[in-house]
């Protein structure tokens, strides 16, 4: 069967190829398209055509498609034969079968058994599962049946199969013996009896089996006891010989057991997204707030605190609690069970896995609680913690981390509160009252973000600096941008308000700098979250300050030194933004502002020195050159002189705003040279830039000395900072002259002078950087790629593309028209064929009819004739 079709196929192929070559070679079949002229290198596809072949191809194609459609026209239902390969003659029947089988399998597998890994499909034999049949075999092999096997009792067979003839006869003999007694036994009774019997047998077998088992167990036990006796003998003898080996073994043992009892690694909680964290933080705060409110209302809190006590995972929640004494942790200590030792506090259990440092802090806090120290101390602790942690987090100052750490803080606080609540299980009335008071004094936990500056002021008004900081932190947390849509904007505004608030704090008298100090971390964290908003706010402040300074400068020609708030802003800028950037949208203007202030204003040496400090901070990393700074320091030193003769003053140039001589040119001269002795170094308060109340000459002198000290220190820093500059000597020349010639040498001077003189004064000459020579212009022709020959060129690419598409469309359109025409021609031909066939049929039938009628007529006539005859 397999060979025959193959042969035929081969034959077909042979014939086909033959015909095709024949056709190609047959000059009557081939149509040659005449070429007008030869083009070298052009390959033509259509020089030879086979019109007959292509026509028959087209007709066949139409027959398959168009004709079918035509025939199906106006017919709504049709038979679709879905059998695989039914009409495919090329396919071998075996292949067909295989394919069909595979398809069926696939169909079964489609949905139900997608996840069925091992079960393939149930194989059946005459409707019964083959698997079950196999099981049946197993059952047959089991010991229950094994004894019955081969035991084909006559009764059984009789009951099962109705009994053979011979056997039956024998039993009938028996029956006759017991006819009187057992006659009434019907067939059903018999069967019941049979079942009972078999059951009894089964039970007996079971009992036997159990007994055998018991016996074996007993034997095992006896063997064990004997074995232990046998084994123990030898180690004991060894033990006496090597007593030091025992602890070693124990050590190992200990380790093993400890390892066994040690906490296994448990799946940790999944990483939380920032939103989740924020939500948790807020929920925590809300909970705390609710708690606080309740306490404020005077409800008993002991229960809730109790309920929060540690619960083990094995706790059945049935009220059964082990006593504390009973709760022992399994551990070794110095090679002994430390069963007798007391376990640690419950709190510590809660904190398993947390670092030891935190536990210590916990203790600190609890101590603080014991002292009934209230919130403030606790906050202090918190802050210290945070600072410590902050410094450790320095490398990766991520905001997430920080918020996490803050949330940790909150957690700890919460725990601390719980701890504080715990001992007061039974509160007297006074205590309750006191607690209420405390709750009132305590801060709320949730805040709405302030909408305006005055809102913020109201919010922060009357709180201690620490609390103000807490308020800001909580506001920030309650309004995390992931919690609500408008929160981001609110917090961005909050930053601006805070800045404004800081400015106002600085302008108060006396300035509340400690509050500002406390608010700095908040500002920093907010700045980290919203750099754009922070940048905008800071730029606004700087822009305003710069503008007002410019205006004042135009009117008066000089300006007052920036006020304390501006100094603070500048410092905050340095804290929030990197000062070492080559160009930074905030710090660059800030530095310009500083330099301008140093250059144009002349009023207060103290403010100037603060500015100088800031300037040094700004350039300390980048080591960039700030001429105004040096000028100011030199000018300040210049103020130290008392009576200078003109020629000394001319030995160095004093840069404006300082003047060689004038009414203020001896501002820093000591009124009494003795006051040096009573002076000791201490830090100047920042508020000294605003107002100074120095009562007597001594105080004034001390202030002068302080300024001098600061100034000299700054000069020292500058000299170290700018050591690498090429023109260092010229930059520091005025300072050097001043220090070396006009001021009595002291230690600090000497240091500075040494630095100045140690720098090399000679430099190699300036040479321009070597530059790559510019390559000569090349004169090779430019090659323009021409893509389509003979077409219109010169138009743009788009136009060409359009042209091409238009052409293509035209071609396609024509082709489609042609096809449609051919289709309709074909159809018409078919219809004509149909009509002609129909007509021919009719004609044939009519002729047939006529024929039959004629024969009938003939027969009838013949009959008539015969009759006549």
């Amino acid at each position: 069967m397999g060979k025959v079709p193959k042969k035929r196929n081969l034959a077909d192929k042979v014939r086909k190829t033959k015909t095709s070559t024949e056709i190609k070679n047959n000059p009557f079949e081939v149509k040659i398209n005449r070429k007008k002229f030869d083009v070298l290198g052009r390959k033509t596809k259509h020089d030879v055509g086979l019109p007959g072949v292509s026509r028959s191809k087209a007709i066949n194609k139409r027959k398959e498609t168009l004709l079918k459609e035509y025939k199906q026209k106006n017919k709504s239902n049709k038979l679709i034969d879905k059998r695989f390969g039914e009409y495919d003659t090329k396919m071998a029947p075996e292949d067909k079968i295989l394919q069909r089988f595979a398809m069926e399998r696939q169909r079964v597998h489609d949905k139900k058994d997608v996840y069925n890994l091992n079960e393939e499909e149930e194989l059946t034999h005459y409707g019964q599962s083959l698997a079950e049949m196999e099981k049946f075999n197993d059952i047959v092999n089991s010991d229950d049946e094994s004894e019955e096997k081969g035991l084909l009792s006559a009764e059984l067979t009789a009951s099962h199969f109705g009994g053979g003839g011979l056997l039956k006869k024998r039993t009938s003999g028996d029956q006759q013996e017991e006819e009187g007694s057992q006659r009434a036994k019907s067939r059903q009774e018999l069967i019941e009896e049979l079942i009972q019997k078999s059951k009894q047998e089964k039970r007996e077998r079971q009992v036997q089996k159990e007994e055998a088992q018991e016996l074996t167990e007993k034997l095992d036990q006896e063997w064990k006891s004997i074995q232990s006796l046998m084994v123990k003998k030898t180690p004991k003898a060894e033990c006496d010989d090597k007593p030091e080996e025992k602890p070693k073994l124990e050590e190992y043992d200990m380790m093993v057991r400890e390892l066994v009892f040690e906490m296994k690694a448990q799946p940790s909680e999944k990483m939380k997204t920032p939103e989740e964290l924020a939500r948790e933080a807020r929920e925590k705060l809300q909970k705390l707030e609710a708690d606080r409110l309740r306490r404020m209302m005077g409800e008993e809190v002991g229960d809730t605190a109790q309920s929060l006590v540690h619960m083990s995972a094995d706790d059945l929640n049935d009220g059964f609690v082990l006593d504390k004494e009973d709760q022992k942790t399994l551990a070794y200590q110095d090679g002994k069970w430390n069963i007798g030792e007391k376990s640690e506090d419950e709190d510590e259990d809660e904190e398993e896995g947390e670092s030891g440092g935190e536990e210590e802090e916990e203790e600190e806090e609890s101590e603080a609680e014991e002292g009934d120290g209230g919130e403030e101390e606790e906050d202090d602790d918190d802050e210290e913690d945070e600072e410590q942690e902050g410094s450790s987090d320095e490398e990766d100052g991520h905001s997430d981390l920080e918020s996490e750490q803050e949330s940790e803080d909150e957690e700890r606080k919460q725990e601390a509160e719980e701890a504080s609540a715990e001992p007061k299980k039974i509160l007297s009335k006074e205590e309750l009252k006191a607690q209420q008071e405390a709750a009132k004094a305590e801060l709320p936990y949730t805040f709405t973000a302030p909408e305006s500056y005055s809102d913020l002021k109201d919010l922060l008004h009357g709180h201690t600096p620490d609390n103000q900081r807490l308020i800001v932190a909580r506001t920030q947390k309650c309004n995390h941008p992931s919690l609500a849509v408008g929160n981001k904007l609110k917090l961005q505004k909050l930053f601006g308000f805070l800045l404004e608030y800081i400015g106002e704090l600085a302008t108060r008298s006396p300035p509340e700098l400690t509050t500002i100090d406390k608010l700095i971390p908040e500002l920093y964290s907010m700045c980290q979250i919203y750099p754009e908003a922070a940048c905008k706010a800071m730029q606004g402040i700087l822009g305003d300050a710069g503008h007002s300074m410019e205006e004042e400068l135009e009117v008066k020609g000089h300006v007052a030194f920036p006020t304390l708030d501006m100094l603070i802003y500048l410092k905050v800028t340095a804290l929030l933004f990197p000062t070492s950037d080559f160009r930074h949208p905030v710090t660059t203007p800030a530095l310009l502002y500083i330099s301008q202030a140093l250059m144009k204003s002349l009023q207060d040496v103290t403010s100037g020195l603060v500015l100088c400090c800031l300037a040094v901070e700004y350039v300390s990393f980048s080591k960039r050159f700030l001429p105004e700074l040096i000028n100011f320091l030199a000018g300040t030193l210049h103020l130290l002189h008392t009576h200078l003769s003109q020629h000394i003053a001319a030995s160095y140039a004093v840069v404006p705003p300082f003047r060689p001589s004038g009414k203020c040119s001896d501002l820093l001269v000591l009124s009494d040279s003795e006051s040096c002795k009573s002076w000791s170094k201490k830090s100047l308060p920042l508020s000294a830039t605003q107002h100074l109340d120095l009562k007597n000459d001594l105080d004034r002198d001390h202030h002068r000395l302080m300024c001098l000290f600061t100034c000299l220190d700054l000069v020292k820093r500058c000299s170290l900072l700018y050591k690498d500059l090429m023109s260092f000597t010229f930059i520091f020349q005025p300072i050097r002259t001043l220090l070396s010639k006009h001021l009595s040498a002291q230690e600090l001077h000497r240091e500075i002078l040494e630095t100045i003189s140690s720098v090399p004064v000679s430099h190699s000459r300036l040479v321009l950087e070597k530059k790559k020579p510019i390559p000569l212009k090349l004169l090779t022709p430019k090659i323009v790629e021409v893509l389509d020959y003979g077409k219109k060129r010169g138009s743009t690419r788009e136009e060409r593309e359009k042209e091409r598409l238009k052409h293509k469309y035209k071609k396609e359109f024509k082709g489609a028209l042609r096809e449609i025409r051919k289709d309709s021609r074909f159809l018409a031909r078919e219809k004509l064929n149909e009509v002609m066939n129909r007509d021919a049929e009719r004609k044939r039938k009519v002729r047939e009819l006529f024929g039959s009628l004629a024969t009938q007529e003939g027969e009838w006539k013949a009959l008539k004739r015969r009759k006549r005859k």
Binding site: S391, E394, L513, T514, I520, P521, L523, C527, P531, E532, A534, C535, Q539, L542, G543, G546, I568, K571, A574, L575, F577, P578, T579, H584, P585, T588, P589, L592, Y593, S595, Q596, M599, C613, V616, E617, V619, S620, S622, R624, F625, L626, P627, A653, P656, S683, L684, P685, L686, L725, M726, S727, F730, V761, S762, H763, S764, R765, L766, V767, L768
Partner: protein, 530 residues
Amino acid sequence: MAPAKKRNVSSAKTSQQSVKTAKIDLNSKVERILESRKHANDVFDILEVLQSEKDKDVISAADACGKLFCTLLERKELFIGKLPGEEEALGGGYSAEEKYRMFMRHRYNSCVEMLLEHLTHELHGVKESALCCLMKFAAGEGQHPLEDLDWSEHYSFPRELILAVVERLLSKTTDNSLLISRFQEFLEMEDVRYYVMSSVRENVGKVMDKSKGAVMPVYQTNVFTLMSNISVPSQESELTNFMVKQEAKHEDWKAAKLNEHKRVFERMWLGFLKYKLPSNMYKKVLVILHDSILPHMSKPTLMIDFLTAAYEVGGAISLLALNGLFVLIHQHNLDYPDFYKKLYNLLEPSIFHVKYRARFFHLANLFLSSSHLPVYLVAAFAKRLARLALTAPSTGLLIVLPFIYNLIRRHPSCRVLVHKPSTEDEPLEDPYLMDEEDPAQCRALESSLWEIKTLQKHHHPDVAKAAMLINTPLPEKEDDISEVLEITTYELMERDLKQSQIKNIPLEFETATQLLKGVGDVLGQHFCLD
């Protein structure tokens, strides 16, 4: 005004009424006087009011006087010619008509005197109305001269009246700048201006001679204010606006000739500048000199002495004198010896801090744009500017760096300042002598511009970038300095502040915990929070 106001407050209504009634009174009196000569004696009442204490009365009286006497002048009812004394007039054989005219002329004279006195009144309102009234009289007198002369031969103009007004305007004790600015309105008339100029010159000569050349700040300020308000038109055809039109030979009148104007203008200024001036006055004069004085002078070269003297003074005054000198050198062929040497010595640290920085650099740029300057000179300038740049503010640096580059571009032989490859590459000390006054001796050409190398580390990015340019050969095209001349620090700040598209702002990674901590901790070491 203060006492008058107080009175107004206490009895506002009554005083207002009284003022009104007084005004009506005065107006009716004026009308009556003009109506018939019977009421001629009412003029005394008006003059009495003119002398009263109340400023409002005085003002209304001044108005009334102006109206009265202008009409009388028009009617020619004032005596013309040399006026005999009052008693003489009464006694002499004059007709009643003549007596009346004499009487009125006498009243007119006393009225003018009173008004002139009012020019030194403490209230501006009074001064102003008095001035207006006087100028009306002047106009009237110009049309109907009170002198008895042959007007076909002479030009009628109330010179005396103008002289008296100018004398009062240039007070020695009070600053009359407001009144003078009001007076400017009249200076637009060509003849008035002409005569005011000549009277100013006379007055200055007289007063300064009397004080023997000592500085009189208030007086000189007044003179300066008046003079600086005077500007001569540039073309003769523009001389059209006259207060007094001469009937005969108008074209020959001095006040109608531009050259005469220029000459008087020149003499006025020279007469003023001849005397010693306070230093701020010096600056003021120098600021407007090139712009509003030199072009209007017939012989600007006459200013040479003044300008060279100012140039020698040093400091800001020298800087300002540069401008005038430039005009003279440029347009009038002035040859100034050692000009560049002096210019070189003008370069001091203060040039970056003075108000006239932009003007100075603009001029210096012009002076040094000559291609005929010796190389040593240009090199000296470049080196000195570079040295000064070490103490300059950012805005100054943005000017001076392109300035130096332009110098090097114009004089390619100065390139050794930034590019001097040598075989023996040994470091050397800067041979440049900063204290040397002579640019030829300062050894600038032997030096290099290390200062610019230093400025590459300047704190402001724009400056640092500008300084970086010396690392590579300078582009051919000159930098346009005029763009940066007027730049202010705030504009520099705005460049950074107004940058609209900031993608991401770098932040300080070091966590801020305390106000005084962080970045070097300099502030924290010297200052504490409280």
